[in-house]
Amino acid sequence: MEVKKDILWRIYLAFLLICVMGLAIIVQIVRIQFVQGDEWRAKQDSMTLSFEPIEASRGNIFSDDGSLLATSVPIYDIRFDTRATAVTDEVFNAGVDSLAQALAALFKDKSWQDYHHEIKEARAERNRYYLLQRNVSFSELQQLKKFPILRMGRNKGGLIVDEKNMRQLSFGHLASRTIGTVRDIKPVGVEASFNSDLQGVGGQRLMQRISGNVKMPVRDKDEVEPRDGNDLMTTLDINIQDVAEHSLEQHLREHNADHGCAVLMEVSTGAIKAIANLSRNKDGDYVENFNYAIAEASEPGSTFKLASLMAAFEDGLVDLNDSINVGNGTSVYFGKKMEDAHPPKSPKLSVQQAFESSSNVGISRVIYQRYLKNPEAFISRLKSFGLSEKLGLQIEGEGQPFIKSVTDKSWSGLSLPWISIGYESKLTPLQTLTFYNAVANNGRMVRPMFVSKVLNHGKVIREFSTQVIRDSIASPQVLAKAHTMLEGVVQHGTASMLNKSPYKIAGKTGTAQIFNNKYGYDKEHMTYQASFVGYFPADKPKYSCIVVVYAPSNDVYYGGAVAAPIFKEIADKVYSNHLDMNESPSHTDSLILSNPLVKAGQQKDLHKVLGKLNLSAASENPDAYWVSVDSRADQMKANERKTIVGLVPNVVGMGLKDALYLLENAGLNVQINGKGWVTRQSIQAGTKIRRGQQIQIELS
């Protein structure tokens, strides 16, 4: 019992200790709450802690081969703390003249006296956040950091740099309207439609205000890490896009046209390979500022005649060789005269001839006679081609197509003949193209596609496959007739200038008179829309293309003369770029015989690898460290690649490891896109290096 008592008093002692600790804690809480309470509560109020959003880096947009179309680059707003610690009167007065001169020389927007005056004034006002310049580039910032006063740095010299992101289109205005933007009042294009993919998820960081406008992160890591936006792989081919845009611009200028567009589409997939939209601005320059191809629905004109005749073929009402009386090329419907652009070759034409020569009278008579009793049949046939429905594009802003119904209030006796030649209806260029594409694709109508993949750090997270709108718009017989007519247009019709091509083109010209809001269809003030739509190679269609030029104000306004040449320039480029179109017989043989393609790299590695493969390469200079390999000849040749200190090295053809090694050793900040070997470097080899400068390399 003694033992138990002995243990018990010790336990009570422990209990007492615990109680004392508990009491001490309570006393301390009371002290904090009631004695120092006001102080701490005040501290909470004055604590300028806030969660600051962190912008997620926006995804890139790539062309079909992985070239960078749109990316975000940092730009900076530069401010000056005129009362920074080391900016004493002495320092300021000694440096302000040269600082103003340096700023004026760099930005060239104000005279140095203006800079001088404003900076002095800012200091007099004790401005600690004076805006020196907005939207300064990285390289300008590097120079700025060397300027008098500012070169003392953030705390001493008062240089405040606020980073922002700016969207940059790598290829200037190429397809800029289709790539789009979200910064405009009305966001457009891929950027807008895929914004939720591109923008990523912003993060948050707990920041504490230290002094003035300077905030410091409270913890090392962000509270919520931003998640980078996804990248988009578009279907655009930048080379063809380039040709489309330049060719379009050149011809628009030549014809002094108001605006125009050109779209190239892959027949089987609906992939849009190029889409150019240009319009004349006040200064007379042509710029991309509206996506006509997608958004502008207008009367299609003669290109619509294909749909009219296909309707009649499908209903079995007419055939290619049926003859039509066109007389002298004029016809009067209910007192309204319809004229052919050129007088017909003979008063009687076959249906095919009428189509090839784009005879308004011929086509309208066929349709008028055959469908007079039952115009609904004609309209419903047109609608069965999918012409009255929106395509449902990946990009928003598609124009609403319009095929007039018989029940429409404005339907009149004139409607049937005029609809048959492409009036009283509305289609966007892309809708017309999609219809022609379906004809080329053996009746299968596919949805035009702009974006093929959504990627996250190179990993495909979503892939868009070709979507079929209509499995078959017409029977095979009708399609065969359509093909014959479209080929005929080029062979001996209104587009015969396209006949001299190494590959066959099929298509249709179109010339529409544009209803003018002020003058109607008045001759004096007539504006025209010249177009050409078709596909090539005609016997095995791979691409379809439409070119529309609006209101060419010079005399020549026919589709064949204005739009067809642009079509040809684009088609020629595609033809020369895509070897698969002109089948080369020795294609497979050459692969087996030729030497392997070898990456550029270190010479000793090269010889080691080739040795293992029982191959060899002749060295230009056996002592050279870096070489590139020419595999074209029978005997491979290793050519020296000189690297000169201070100049950007040539890394094209190298693997990533070697390229990174060389560029980073040279003091460059490397941004990598794609994988494989380097196909492009953003700064040309041999350019003088500025340390820390950014270089982008693309691999594929």
Binding site: V3, K4, D6, I7, L8, R10, I11, Y12, A14, F15, I18, C19, M21, G22, A24, I25, I26, Q28, I29, V30, I32, Q33, Q36, G37, E39, W40, R41, K43, Q44, M47, L49, F51, Q204, L206, V218, R219, E223, V224, E225
Partner: protein, 387 residues
């Protein structure tokens, strides 16, 4: 009696069960309120994730407690030796290749189960049980240095030394708990005081050697923490300032559950500083209630121990209860800035699986002793009635 099923299944001191239940509810509420930042950081704002995770940890903890209380406490005597032997290689393994959290390797991942596991919690419980066992066994020659003090103190020093490099505060709290347990178990006071002196000297030497060989490990953190505590430089004292702001903001009745402001600014509001959040949300009243609950728990243990005939039972229950309540006091003392910042969780309240589970088990052990005491009392009573 009304609640016969309670009698049947929940043996031992019913009040302790109640205290644990109240603490669990506080734990659930406070953790849910304070994991907002964590949820935004890792679970894209899905705050229910941590609520459900914590709830399942608590439920499992209660299950472990139930299981532990159902085992007759004398088994723990034998079990303690095995557990202690098992804990040594585990501690070494943790030191060598543990998961690095806050630069301290305190965790190992159990193979196959993918659960991170704080080995020191296991070793702590094993050691307390072992010391209780040894003390009760050696009661006859308890004042002896060689046959009582040494066999007890050597395992204590061994385990503490293995925990020390990764987690100073756990080692220190455990060491102090063991010293108290030895004191209660009637070990000669001279030896215990001497041991305390030696421990301080050893620790000093350890720090000096580590600094000398340049492998500072956690020492930088300790140094910084102690410096911060002793100096008045509030600029660096972010954690404790935030904790004080939280406490001051609570006032008498608190901001009410879920309205904490400091949780966004206070690091680890769900573990190390959960007490500050509780005071902020439930006020001084809530803060006192929590302290009272721990003291009450200890008091209940002392109460049933009065009737305990066995030295081992007494020492086992007191050992478990004391180390738990002592750690709780240390945690709260840190939260109110009476003590330099340590990494001790608040038992039964802080988020964290291992801590809650081993706390649950140790309460289960306490309940097991209490169950036995009640049983013997009842049998004694029956005998008395029969006589």
């Amino acid at each position: 009696m009304q609640a016969t099923w309670l009698d049947k299944y929940f043996k031992g001191d019913r009040t302790i069960w109640l205290i644990v239940f109240i603490l669990s509810i506080f734990s659930l509420l406070a953790v849910y309120s304070s994991t907002g930042t964590l949820a935004y950081k890792f679970k894209s704002g899905n705050t229910e994730y941590y609520l459900m995770k914590h709830l399942s940890i608590l439920v499992l903890g209660l299950g472990l407690m139930y299981a532990a209380h159902a085992i007759k406490y004398t088994y723990y005597s034998r079990f303690s030796t095995i557990a202690l032997i098992l804990s040594l290689p585990l501690l070494i393994l943790t030191l060598v290749n543990g998961t690095n959290l806050n630069e301290a390797s305190r965790w190992i991942t159990l193979p196959g189960m993918n659960i991170t596991f704080q080995t020191s919690d296991f070793a702590k419980l094993a050691l307390i049980m072992f010391v209780a066992r040894m003390l009760s066994k050696k009661q006859d020659e308890i004042k002896s240095f060689k046959s009582a003090f040494l066999p007890i103190v050597l395992p204590v020093l061994g385990v503490c030394a293995l925990i020390l490099p990764a987690n100073f505060s756990t080692a220190a709290v455990l060491f102090i708990s063991c010293c108290f347990l030895m004191f209660i178990g009637r070990i000669n006071m001279k030896y215990i005081l001497g041991l305390g002196g030696i421990a301080i000297i050893c620790f000093g030497l350890f720090v000096v050697t580590m600094l000398a060989i340049g492998k500072t490990g956690r020492i930088d953190t300790w140094k910084a923490r102690i410096e911060r505590f002793t100096s008045d430089d509030n600029q660096d004292n972010y954690q404790t300032d935030q904790a004080k702001i939280a406490i001051a903001g609570g006032g008498l009745f608190g901001r009410f559950p879920g309205n904490s402001k400091a949780r966004n600014y206070l690091p680890h509001p769900y573990s190390d500083f959960i007490y500050a959040i509780i005071v902020e949300e439930y006020g001084l009243i809530g803060g006192i209630l929590i302290i009272f609950l721990y003291i009450w728990l200890f008091f209940r243990v002392i109460r049933f121990i009065h009737h305990s005939p066995m030295a081992f039972g007494t020492l086992l229950a007191i050992g478990c209860a004391f180390s738990l309540v002592f750690q709780a006091m240390i945690n709260m003392a840190v939260a109110v800035n009476l003590f330099p910042v340590t990494g001790q969780p608040l038992p039964m309240l802080s988020m964290g699986g291992t801590s809650i589970w081993f706390t649950s088990i140790s309460i289960g052990v306490v309940l097991s002793v209490s169950r036995q005491v009640e049983k013997e009392k009842k049998e004694g009573g029956q005998e008395l009635a029969a006589a």
